[in-house]
Amino acid sequence: MNDYENAIEIKDLTKKYDGFTLDKVSFNVPKGSIMGFIGQNGAGKTTTINAILNIVKKDEGEIKLLGLDHEKDEYDAKKQIAAVFDELPFDDRLNAITIDKVLREVFEEWSSETFFNYLDRFSLPRKKKFGKFSKGMKMKLQIASALSHNAKLLIMDEATTGLDPVVRNEILDIFLEYLQNEDHSILMSSHITSDLDKVADSVTFIDKGKVLISGYKDDILYSHGILKCTKDDYKDIAPEDIVSARLNDFGAEIMVSDKAECSRKYSGAVIDPATLEDIMLFYVNRSKKEWR
């Protein structure tokens, strides 16, 4: 058994495509935690996840999974990893019994008992072909298969996108249960930030191929705030304190990255707590500085 502090360690990950560059992405997913990986469409979330899984070859950088090099020790690492995508990657003509027969030969630690327990828990039929499953059923099946080989790391790419709130909630509960084991970790990419508000311990925010924020969610939420003021007061705010500002007819909402400092500096100003969605919105518009 190898000892490791971080389930995922990414350092200066670079991947260049025509028109898009993943630019020196670095972040860590601490062991035993769930990290939300957020960003708008095309920000580089899937490319980063594909690079982690070695589905795409990185140009530069280092990636360690569970303390193992993601290329040299690829298959050792992948024995302990489960990937969940936004769509079920199993043929529509298969059913749960067949997929159990396939995956138990692929994963050394596959447990049919665990798999069928999850199926029962999710009320998923065993013999029904996947082609006849709803989107929610397909996602539950994918999660059941991901959690049945004693994976220590779960990597999910937009896994909750397109699901109704009831199913999403059910799935998030499963993740929290999975994290009860302190060896288990999750990297979860999503643009549904409310899900991450609920379950994430830490958050990495990526935009245009660059990591803008990475750290513990509570620290990020604690340090960021939305300063609300009139248009006249807005002129007095120092530009270095502003991430970006949303202007409206009545005044301005300004995202500040050091709430404590700003509340001291602009005493009397109202600074509301920011949500992950607010942070994402204001950071995405940071190049414009002012937006409506």
């Binding site: 070859k57 298959y75 199993f90």
Partner: protein
């Protein structure tokens, strides 16, 4: 790898079963017609012996083609479906190296091809038994050549489809080479027929033109068949080797 092999067999099984049924129906029909040439309605015809001779000399080839193409057809479109269902992408997340993925595909394809070969041989036994003649070694040789040539194409199809992703694209691209090749073969066949016809008129003026032509052509056809009989296994093994290494290379390239 066992799991991957199981999956490929499972997803190919329906087409294989349907084609197996087509094979059984075909073999049964031809068997009954052959029997009918001496013990049924066809026996009343004057040319019943000729009909039987014709069926025995040709139908084993069709049965072999149905058997071999039928067995492998179901597996042919699996790569396209794997791309569509995103299994191809998912397989990169499994602790399975590319060589095992290709080996599983080759194992299934070769097993299905060999099953088709066995069915083709069985058809020859059934037809000869129905015709009350011993099974022909020449026919077995022809079936073997057919398996080697068809098998080589069928196996090379694995890396080819990995590149092309869809059967439509693959078929369209292969046409670029297939059309001139077919034209060349047709032209060659036409020239050969003309040559045989002229030779038959010169050497066997008393024989019917078709019979004379066959007499001229047969030594050439047998010679070419014998060349293929020796070259066939090498072609097939070569195709397997190429498919293996090319397939691995393509799977690695797909990690773009």
């Amino acid at each position: 790898m066992k799991g991957l092999i199981y999956r490929e067999f499972y997803l190919s099984r329906k087409t294989v079963v349907y084609m197996f049924l087509a094979y059984i129906i075909f073999v049964l029909m031809i068997t009954m017609i052959i029997i009918s040439t001496y013990a049924g309605n066809l026996a009343k015809n004057n040319d019943s012996a000729e009909t039987r001779e014709y069926l025995l000399s040709q139908m084993y080839l069709y049965a072999g083609l149905i058997a071999m193409a039928g067995c492998t057809y179901g597996h042919n479109d699996l790569i396209e479906k794997d791309y569509k269902s995103r299994w191809q992408l998912y397989s990169y997340t499994l602790p399975v190296p590319e060589k095992k993925i290709i080996l599983s595909k080759l194992t299934v394809r070769i097993t299905l091809l060999l099953s088709g070969f066995v069915l083709a041989v069985i058809a020859e036994f059934i037809f000869s038994a129905a015709g009350k003649v011993p099974a022909s070694m020449e026919h077995f040789k022809n079936i073997f050549v057919m398996m080697c040539v068809y098998g080589a194409m069928c196996i090379a199809d694995i890396p080819y489809l990995l590149i092309m992703k869809t059967q439509n694209k693959g078929a369209a691209f292969v046409m670029i080479f297939f059309v001139p090749l077919t034209a060349a073969i047709i032209y060659g066949a036409y020239k050969f027929e003309k040559f045989c016809s002229a030779e038959a008129a010169r050497l066997y003026p008393d024989m019917e033109s078709d019979a004379g032509m066959m007499k001229v052509a047969m030594p050439y056809l047998t010679k070419w068949r014998d060349i293929f009989l020796w070259a066939g296994p090498f072609i097939l093994i070569g195709a397997i080797m190429i498919a293996y290494f090319w397939g691995i290379k393509e799977l690695k390239r797909r990690r773009y």
